[in-house]
Homo-oligomer: 442 residues x 2
């Protein structure tokens, strides 16, 4: 794992200066980590790449290579793979496509290459993948157009394109990652191996996965069950319907399995399944921040409280609690939702919030705010942050409806690692998952 995610030396076979090429993309991304490790570019047809000396082959490099990255046309991959094995590379990523995903000939070639690495006992990632990224070690061994910020979420994806877009999204949303792995055709290492690695990685607090098929279901359940006891695993499964399944077959070599079998396996393993890309990262982000705080809270018999300055938002939020199975607590001398009314000042909110958190059988509060004349989003945000510190085991989920005047407060809450929701359904979904995580970890 060290050699793959924090190599001391990397060789890129297929490095080039050609604009818009995969070889240049990887070279530039690798170069970001030039202070962390030695980087070697291999290309027999050019003398320099990114103004650095190139090598005609990996054999020419006189140093031990921890990680070899192969990005040459499919027809050359077998030969280059043999050279990497001969050179004793620590592990290898094959970026190149043109294998099992293209038909029978590609499948045969992939099998031969897979056997070469297996025989030499060298871990292989790919082929037909984007590569791997470890922002904590400034390793971007991929051709993604950007590098994400370091964070707590490991994202394992059968799709490289999805990783590209998620990185672009994460830079706008200030979302950080611990690891990113595009695992492609799984000729060597597969999803189960990467799950195990993310499980061991100390930076990773939550594991997010996009997959279309699982190759070894029994192993998956075994490995995922173990990890899910410590770290939440959130999965989006593509190809769950006839139309999606048909699409998945032409996209990867995978024969997408039956949705019900998958969902049953996920449930058995204690994995949370989501249905949208937005939910995958909403849930991952919130759980990365909130779950550690939830440790040790006795939940039996307890429920959530809704605190609001707008009746309708209380109603809609209560509706979602009913739908998603989030139990509402009985609040002493108040209704639940507790409506502090439209003229509620931050002081009123604070008093109510403290009263709720002090009540032993209330496990968390959904703090709803609409933007009325007396509403002070900034003060409300500060109160939430302060009060959450006093009651670290009782999650406060801020639900701030608004836009322009709400933005600064929303950003403050996000920076404080508390998250902030704009849609009642999202806040309640997180409340329901926090309950689930508690059930899982018992």
């Amino acid at each position: 794992m060290q050699k793959l995610f924090n190599p001391q030396s990397v060789a890129l076979i297929g490095a080039t200066d050609r604009a818009g090429s995969v070889g240049l993309g990887i070279a530039e991304n690798l170069w970001l980590g030039k202070k962390q490790r030695k980087i070697f570019f291999v290309n027999p047809n050019s003398k320099k790449v990114l103004k650095q000396k190139t090598y005609a082959s990996i054999a020419e490099i006189k140093e031990k290579i921890d990680l070899a990255i192969i990005a040459v046309p499919a027809k050359f991959v077998k030969q280059v793979s043999l050279e990497c094995c001969l050179a004793g590379a620590g592990c290898c990523i094959i970026i190149s496509s043109g294998f099992a995903e293209t038909g029978l000939a590609g499948e045969t070639l992939q099998k031969e290459i897979s056997e070469i690495f297996a025989k030499n006992n060298i871990p292989l990632v790919g082929p037909n993948c984007l590569g791997v990224i470890n922002p904590h070690k400034k390793l971007n061994a991929s051709f993604a157009p950007d590098t994400p910020q370091p964070g707590k979420i490991a994202f394992l994806s059968q799709s490289g394109a999805l990783i590209d877009s998620v990185i672009d999204y994460s830079l706008l949303e200030n979302l950080g990652f611990s690891l990113m792995v595009s695992y492609g055709n799984e000729a060597g290492l597969g999803l189960n191996d990467f799950l195990a690695m993310a499980g061991e990685d100390k930076n990773t607090k939550v594991i997010a996965v996009y997959l279309e098929e699982i190759k070894n279901g029994q192993d998956f359940i075994k490995i995922a069950s173990e990890i899910a006891k410590q770290k939440p695993i959130i999965i989006l499964k593509g190809g769950k319907t006839p139309a999606g399944n048909k699409a998945a077959q032409s996209h990867t070599a995978a024969m997408a399995g039956e949705a019900k079998i998958y969902s049953a396996a996920f449930q058995k393993a204690g994995v949370l399944e989501v249905e949208t890309i937005e939910d995958l990262f909403l849930v991952s982000r919130t759980r990365a921040d909130l779950v550690p705080k939830r440790r040790g809270l006795p939940l039996s018999g307890s429920g959530w409280a809704i605190l609001t300055n707008g009746g309708a938002v209380g109603v809609i939020t209560a509706d979602w609690c009913s739908r998603l199975g989030v139990k509402l607590a009985e609040i002493a001398l108040q209704n639940n939702p507790w409506d502090v009314l439209g003229d509620a000042t931050s002081e009123i909110y604070q008093t109510a919030l403290l009263a709720l958190l002090k009540q032993p059988d209330i496990s968390g509060v959904i703090f709803c705010q609409t933007l009325q004349t007396m509403t002070d989003p900034w003060q409300n945000a500060k109160i939430i942050i302060k009060t959450q510190k006093q009651y670290p085991q009782k999650p406060i989920l801020p639900l701030f409806l608004g836009g322009v005047k709400t933005k600064k407060a929303v950003d403050l809450l996000k920076q404080a690692g508390l998250g902030c929701f704009q849609e009642p359904r999202d806040a309640v979904m997180i409340a329901s998952l926090l309950l689930t995580s508690d059930v899982n970890s018992r």
Copy 2:
């Protein structure tokens, strides 16, 4: 309707300079339309409000008042109502709360006031409401903290607080409104009346509604059915579950009805029901822009095409098509989703897009973009805008996954009135609703 949404003269009874008060909020909002109409402030206890002369009562004003707004404590409302009737006000909004929503005494008082206006044949909005807004005529007769931009969506809401937050949201999202009505306790005019007004309003292309109860179901079905033939009506119903229902009862005077009866009524009336606040405005906005373009397209036997440069996004989008009942067309010589692969240039996208739109039995295209090395979001956006003009009857729904590097192109698409989605589910939901609208309008 003219007198309510575009009055030539307005009197505010309860105008004040007191910071943070409802009376000041309305006064300031009204003042924004000082070039459009005459504005009179009534307050027997102060000589000036916003540096303008005040009147001791509405009787003192020597001009005919189109719209009287009452914002005084509940106990004074009856007396002031009588004065408004005597002065022959064209219509009246009672902002004040403290009526049917507070219990039996308030209900009795509300009934008396309601009868006063009925006897004098003066239309009444409220009590217990935020007011009304018509951005096209610079009328903000409410205490909302801001004024929205003019646009095509009428928003009718039982909740005033929701309107406040929606305005703040709309300013960030560049969303415009034709009318906004907080209809409160419906002592005079009710939802059905406002639906009829929005139906007649030429600026309104789509009607979005938040409600907890409908007071006259038969009338609702009759009125909504007629309007829905011309303009889409999108409704979010609060209080659909036991918990939400209980919350609704303590929030308004409403006894929230059974969710199934409501859903059946909505379906009978051709009204689209959504389940989240986000969907209410996502659907409203997209339909305001797209529905007019859809006129005249024969849909029988036709289906949608998915065009993508990322296999996984094609798979996820196809999954959602299966789930939401969006039929996928057979594409000549290609799969559907049609995967133009990760190195697709804008030229490749354009060629494929034109081929799809030319195929007669393809009714629309979901244009999926992931942000890979060769992807040019800006060029792709321009191609979509240009091509949509060539084929105005075939909607192209852009689904651009990303963030920082995608933002400029997303904004361009939104400015062009095409909308842009970041989540496959959202794009497919809109595709499904465009189908529904076609079915409705036949």
